[in-house]
């Protein structure tokens, strides 16, 4: 049985790790997945409330805590509901069954005669005098979870499947709510002078000049090439850090050429290569090929990262908006050379991260300083230019698709050739913490790997076409040395790969002289995918689509995220002169059983806006010492005046397992925009972002 249990339960077999009945008649649900703005914690509470039969407001969720909560790794990959949600459901169902079995023995009746109403047990219509709080015993919690209890059918749910308001939102529209806002005793503020790159050495720091420029009180903490300004006045340390680069000279700073900021630079760089999928079939006469690209993109969290750390009596406590408290604890132990069990990491809310941004690095900054100044709580707030300049980026990708076509111009053989740097570079997967590289004993150079296909792949995520093509293959070039650090950004390679596939499908349809929707459906046997495409084509009035080249365009794209999670189809109507304006967006998604439909809708639409922003506007600029797009002017994102109306429909499929959907609209949105712009212009733009310069160049072709 255990091999079929979700990973979260395999790693945390005791019910007591998950559930506890508190004396105030609440239920404490402890989970390892954390709230990053996606609403997962509210949804997990809904699941527990339904399986235990207690009112939702009795469920108090503790999430992300190395002392108190289970280890569920990172909060990534749209896994919170698929994996943690399944775990919470099984744990809750099993606890309920164990307690009722014992009560049935006590009352000498069958468990089937017992019911639970808001945690109170009844036998038929009669009260039993027992409830979870007075009857559950240590024995119920102590045994390993077997996963044998049968969860409720979806028809019996009271909360699951219904829109529920997010639990964390009231504080966030009222005042203090984030790790940035925490105040602890003996608090000191700190800012960091960042090492420009791995291997750079601080030749000199003119502290006297710095102190003449900033006369407030601060101390300078230096450990190797790591320098921090620490003091009780945040304004002073902020100013010291802002001007410090003017008074610092670094040796051995790697230089970046502007050409390296482009995806095309990746092609032909030293790489680790592999071929996945089918052997090549005999070459066909009728070949089609096209290349697509996305540049480096930033998570661009609205808040620069922040963390608090204190070192007291040999114990380190850290508060962080990390995606994973346990992996961060491991990284801290490695960097600081202290035992894991002397470290506590607790999650506190941050701004949306959309992947691996500066959250973990700033926590290491704070911990390194705390070790130097024991007995104080050290609060490190990254500066805006620091977040843009030093967070890991989503890798640029260059994707070439080749299809051998039959007489009906349908693909018989499909190859995706991908050039990309790694998409996951956490310490647990060969990467380094930024601060670690500045310390006296830096770690070895990172060894880039990419997530295995079993986890959905990285650069190869969504690279295999889901159409009925007899022979499919992916050639993956994992580029070993990118000019900047790259790591996980929402969807990993899915956005560039789906963009490429779905744009190429429109191009193939055009060659075949067939309508793009009809062309897709003619080689798509998955009924859930067909249903979505038919749904969205009907809603966007596809059949009335006008001729290409009118300046107005309608395009669509779809994907099943990771080729096994949620399905999404997106259609976009655009207007293009020199710039692209999104007029309307339609979305249809199928995620099986949806726990909180309003939260799901929020995620689907947020993914659309963010993906549209990346497709139309975003590219990290770099030259010389490093990244040069260091503010919101250099790295613009979509604004209120650019965001279209979005019409979203979630396909009702409560009898099917929940599929992770937090990233599923990302690729389809980019593809739909690509196809809509091509329809509007009558010519195709294959490289993101679709800036004014690119549109003008396409029009001149």
């Amino acid at each position: 049985m255990s091999d079929t249990l979700p990973l979260s339960i395999q790693n945390n077999r005791r019910i007591e790790k998950w559930l506890r009945f508190e004396s105030d008649r609440t239920v404490r649900l402890a989970v390892g997945k954390v709230e990053l703005g996606q609403g997962n914690v509210t949804a997990l509470a809904q699941i527990a409330a339904d399986e235990l039969d207690v009112d939702l407001q009795r469920i108090a969720v503790l999430s992300g805590d190395t002392e108190e909560a289970p280890d569920e790794g990172q909060t990534t990959g749209s896994q919170s509901i698929e994996v943690s949600g399944r775990s919470v459901r099984l744990v809750s169902a099993e606890l309920r069954a164990r307690v009722l079995d014992r009560l049935a023995q006590r009352l000498n009746c069958s468990p089937a005669e017992l019911t639970v109403e808001d945690g109170v047990f009844r036998r038929g219509d009669a009260p039993t005098g027992h409830d979870y709080w007075n009857f559950a015993s240590a024995d119920d919690f102590a045994r390993d979870i077997e996963g044998t209890a049968t969860p409720k059918p979806h028809t019996a749910y009271r909360y699951v499947g219904k829109p529920m308001p997010r639990r964390d939102l009231p504080a966030k529209v009222s005042g203090a709510a984030f790790v940035h806002d925490m105040v602890r005793p003996d608090l000191l503020h700190a800012r960091v002078l960042r090492q420009p790159c791995r291997g750079a050495r601080l030749a000199s720091l003119d502290e006297a000049a710095l102190r003449r420029a900033e006369r407030g009180e601060f101390r300078v903490v230096r450990v190797g090439e790591f320098v921090a300004f620490v003091g009780s006045d945040e304004t002073v340390v902020q100013r010291a850090a802002a001007i410090a680069p003017l008074h610092a000279k670094w040796d051995n700073v790697a230089q970046i050429a502007p050409v390296q900021q482009e995806a095309a630079w990746l092609v032909g760089q030293p790489s680790s290569d592999r071929v996945l999928g089918d052997d090549a079939s005999p070459s066909a006469t009728n070949m089609a090929t096209a290349s697509y690209s996305r540049p480096y993109v930033a998570h661009a969290s609205i808040a620069p990262s922040c963390a608090l750390a204190e070192y007291r009596n040999g114990r380190l406590s850290v508060w962080s908006h990390t995606q994973g408290v346990y992996p961060l604890r491991t990284a801290l132990a490695n960097v600081l050379g202290i035992a894991q069990d002397a470290i506590t990491v607790r999650h506190a809310h941050g701004a949306g991260c959309y992947g691996h941004n500066g959250a973990d690095d700033v926590a290491v900054d704070a911990a390194v300083i705390a070790q130097q100044i024991p007995g104080h709580c050290i609060r490190v707030q990254w500066r805006r230019e620091e977040e843009f300049g030093f967070e890991p980026l989503g890798s640029a990708m260059h994707v070439t698709l080749r299809a051998a076509l039959n007489d009906e111009r349908k693909p018989l053989d499909w190859t995706a050739e991908i050039w990309s740097a790694t998409h996951v570079q956490r310490p647990s997967s060969g990467g380094n913490m930024l601060t670690h590289e500045a310390l006296p004993t830096p770690p070895p150079d990172p060894r880039p790997t990419d997530p295995p296909e079993a986890n959905g792949g990285g650069g190869t995520r969504n690279a295999f076409v889901l159409y009925d093509v007899p022979v499919k293959r992916v050639v993956h070039h994992l580029v070993l040395r990118a000019p900047v650090r790259t790591s996980a950004l929402r969807g990993l390679g899915a956005l560039p790969n789906v963009f490429a596939i779905e744009c190429f499908m429109d191009e193939l349809a055009e060659r075949a002289g067939v309508d793009p929707v009809e062309y897709r459906l003619s080689m798509l046997s998955d009924p859930r995918a067909r249903r979505l495409i038919e749904n969205i084509a009907q809603r966007c009035n596809w059949s009335a689509r006008g001729p290409a080249g009118s300046g107005r365009g309608l395009g669509l794209g779809w994907a099943r995220y990771k080729n096994r999670a949620a399905y999404a189809a997106v259609a976009v109507e655009v207007e293009v002169d020199q710039e692209v304006r999104l007029r309307r967006v339609w979305c249809a998604a199928d995620a099986g059983l949806v726990i909180n439909p309003d939260g799901a809708r929020n995620q689907l639409e947020g993914g659309i806006v963010q993906a549209a922003s990346m497709t139309l506007k975003e590219q990290v600029r770099m030259e010389g010492d490093g990244i040069t797009s260091l503010d919101w002017v250099g790295y613009p994102i979509m604004r209120f005046s650019e965001v279209p109306e979005i019409d979203t429909e979630i396909i009702h499929a409560p009898d099917l397992p929940t599929l992770g959907m937090g990233e599923c609209t990302f690729g389809p949105t980019a593809a739909a925009i690509g196809n809509a712009v091509a329809h509007a212009l009558g010519t195709r733009v294959r490289d993101m972002p679709f800036t004014r310069e690119r549109i003008e160049a396409a029009l001149l072709k």
């Binding site: 703005g37 966030k172 945040e234 902020q238 969290s301 959309y354 002017v633 209120f640």
Partner: protein, 158 residues
């Protein structure tokens, strides 16, 4: 120097260099954490507060320039227990994801509704265009402001 000003209706005195950002004074001296640091460059709007009713960026506004004047932060609108209709509308519409940008957006919306109780969608877009949201909650946020405007016109709440 000693500086007197009014914050959320209350007279306060603070001691600070006159060049200290208003945001730092609010957060660290007055323990009002609702205005948030996002860029320090007047580009994102996370730090917005009202200065005599007008939305301003607190991140780069020097405290010396607001002496004797009146500041309203998100805490001055309402609380978790007693939300202002704007805050309530944002909760009703679940208008946000991570929420970091929301206090600045609510402040921008408050300034708009104070001068224009019946804004069009275009008016709201224009008023919020200086605020950035990275999660993509924009359509919900626009609906929330429309809803708040209707609630306020209907005379519910403050």
């Amino acid at each position: 120097m000693d500086i007197a000003l009014t914050v959320n209706g209350n007279p306060v005195r603070v001691t600070a260099l006159e060049t200290t950002p208003l945001l730092d004074v609010l957060r660290n001296q007055l323990d009002l954490k609702g205005a948030r640091y996002g860029c320090g460059l007047e580009q994102c709007g996370s730090c917005m507060v009202l200065l005599d009713g007008e939305p301003i960026y607190a991140c780069s506004r020097e405290i010396g320039t607001v002496a004797g004047r009146s500041i309203t932060t998100i805490e001055g609108l309402g609380s978790v227990a007693q939300p202002h209709p704007l805050q309530q509308a944002f909760l009703d519409e679940q208008a946000g994801q991570c929420g970091y940008c929301l206090s600045g957006i609510v402040i921008s919306a408050k300034a708009l509704l104070d001068r224009n109780p019946s804004p069009s969608r275009a008016d709201i877009v224009e008023a919020l265009d200086k605020n950035l949201c990275r999660c993509g909650a924009h359509p919900r946020i626009l609906r929330a402001v429309e809803k708040a405007a209707a609630m306020l016109r209907g005379g519910k709440g403050v």
